[in-house]
């Protein structure tokens, strides 16, 4: 048996180019363009990329919702095209769009989901009760989902993946519509699931989320891989980016001119705090700090490497 939970080889997905029933002919688009990668078991793997990068298409192929145009993908050793049923037995999916049974109560949503995944009555009831507790849905448990707010619907959808023991979880922008406290609880639970050996593949637009959760990150653009690795490896790709934060006791006069002369990549002044992102080597970044520090009384200075957001912007711009 392979040591990888996911194996992808030269995967290609081309949309369009054919006339659909009652629809116009579309120009072909290569949504996934020759991707190859592997994900070891128990990893939290992040798929990042701008809108239209191919993340959702990739997840749809991996979850058997879409057939690839060419190439291969295997989940737990099962081919997504040749062995779709085995793949579906190995996965659980949170779609980007809200997906709930509107006409059923919250509890019945969980029980129905459990039934599809082969859990018997008692175990299903216990897992449903656990999910209701974890996602703080006790007061809503007997209400029909159509009467709940969008945030609660999303809770119901995400809670389901914690009811079953499938080895691979796919989460497409799972935190959409979640409040910060719940998001934190879900992220903790995801870490626990990964520690139990489940492989988690997630896409997100919130880069701090990926920075906090993911052991391994793949950045996509226009269906192609533009970077891959853990956060430290990705930082090395953009080592010339530095983030500087300086807080003065009072914002010095004329500091805007000095900042402009440094030609920052990004800059922000909030109160007496100046935040800069410089695309420069470390020594020059220190010179910049020194120049700014001479302008007033400094209360705090922070110099850091690029954040995932900086890396993401840098790499997607380059691509």
């Amino acid at each position: 048996m392979s040591t990888y939970a996911l194996e992808v080889e030269n995967l290609v997905k081309v949309y369009g180019g054919r006339r659909s029933l009652f629809g116009p002919r579309n120009e072909p688009v290569r949504a996934v363009d020759g991707l190859s990668f592997q994900v070891p078991r128990g990893a939290i793997f992040g798929l990042l990329g701008p809108n239209g990068a191919g993340k959702t298409t990739l997840l749809k192929i991996l979850s058997t919702l879409l057939a690839p145009t060419s190439g291969q993908a295997r989940i737990e050793g099962f081919d997504v095209v040749a062995q779709p049923l085995e793949v579906r037995r190995s996965i659980c999916m949170v779609l980007q769009e809200t997906a709930v049974e509107l006409f059923l109560s919250v509890r019945d949503n969980f029980l129905t989901f459990a039934k599809f995944h082969g859990l018997d009555g008692q175990l299903a009831a216990k897992r449903a009760a656990d999910a209701i507790a974890l996602f703080d849905l006790g007061a809503e448990a007997e209400r029909k989902v159509q009467d709940l707010s969008g945030g609660y619907k999303r809770r119901v959808q995400v809670a389901k993946v914690f009811m079953v023991d499938t080895p691979v979880l796919f989460l497409d922008e799972f935190s959409t519509g979640m409040d910060p406290i719940l998001k934190r609880a879900v992220m903790d639970s995801l870490r626990k699931e990964a520690a139990r050996g489940r492989t988690i593949v997630l896409t997100t637009q919130i880069l701090s989320e990926a920075e906090e959760l993911c052991d391994d990150i793949l950045i996509l653009d226009k269906g192609r891989q533009i970077a891959r690795g853990d956060l430290n490896a990705l930082k090395l790709l953009t080592k010339s980016v530095s983030e500087i934060v300086i807080t003065f006791d009072e914002l010095p006069q004329g500091i805007e001119r000095v900042i402009a002369a440094l030609q920052p990549w990004q800059s922000k002044i909030a109160g007496s705090t100046v935040e800069l992102v410089l695309k420069t080597e470390e020594a020059q970044a220190l010179d910049a700090v020194s120049a700014l520090a001479k302008m007033g009384r400094v209360l705090r200075v922070e110099i850091g490497g690029a954040s995932l957001e900086d890396i993401f912007v840098e790499l997607t711009k380059k691509s």
């Binding site: 049923l85 579906r88 769009e97 997906a99 049974e101 109560s105 039934k115 599809f116």
Partner: protein, 250 residues
Amino acid sequence: MPAISAILYREGKIRATNMIFVFWDFFYPLCYLLVFGVGMSAALGAPVSIPGVNYNSFFLAGVLGMASFGIASNSSWSFFMDRDNGIFYEMLTYPMSRAEYLLGKVAFNLFIAVSQALITLGLGAWLLGIRLRLDFLPLLFVSVIVGTAGWFFFYTIFALRIRRNDVFNGVTSVLYFVFLLASSMFYPIDPLPRGLRTVALCNPITWEVDVLRYATIGYGHPPKLALEAAAFTVFAAICFAIAVRSLHKE
């Protein structure tokens, strides 16, 4: 089997927790018979030129055929609703094959159709004095099952291939108009103008309703009915194959 039983469980839960669904599912054809059938009979006297057959008896098969068509139409709407709710795509990632998904859905529809038929036949005979051919009951239930399955697969093709509600609305309205009116559902087709009669003869609803009419009141010519039954079975099988193919493309 676990996947099919899970779908039956889901569909049953959705229906059982909504009384409007329950009423509509079980009493719709009976209501049609009691309102439209009785109304036509009273207003026009005996509009059917078949000796010994009143309109209520004649229309009973039509209403059963209309019910199988209606169940399929409503069920195809449920694909749209599930797609709008997103649950349709999530369900396609559950551990079941596409064929199991369709078979589970059709199995539930068959349960509804057979229940509807039992209620309609029982109350139709009691309230309207329709004399049923009880010896043909097995044929009647086979016809209801094959008919409902055929129309379910037929509608599923459109529900899966059409993405927009307005287009789907337009298509189903045309289907309703053509299939229901150019058929033997409401009237015998022999007296119809030649063009309309030809369309009706090629209409699978006519094939289904003719068999149902024979199975309910014994009216019809068995050799022709055998041909119609075979044609409808082929139609249903082709629709199933195309529906599974359409689902694979989702």
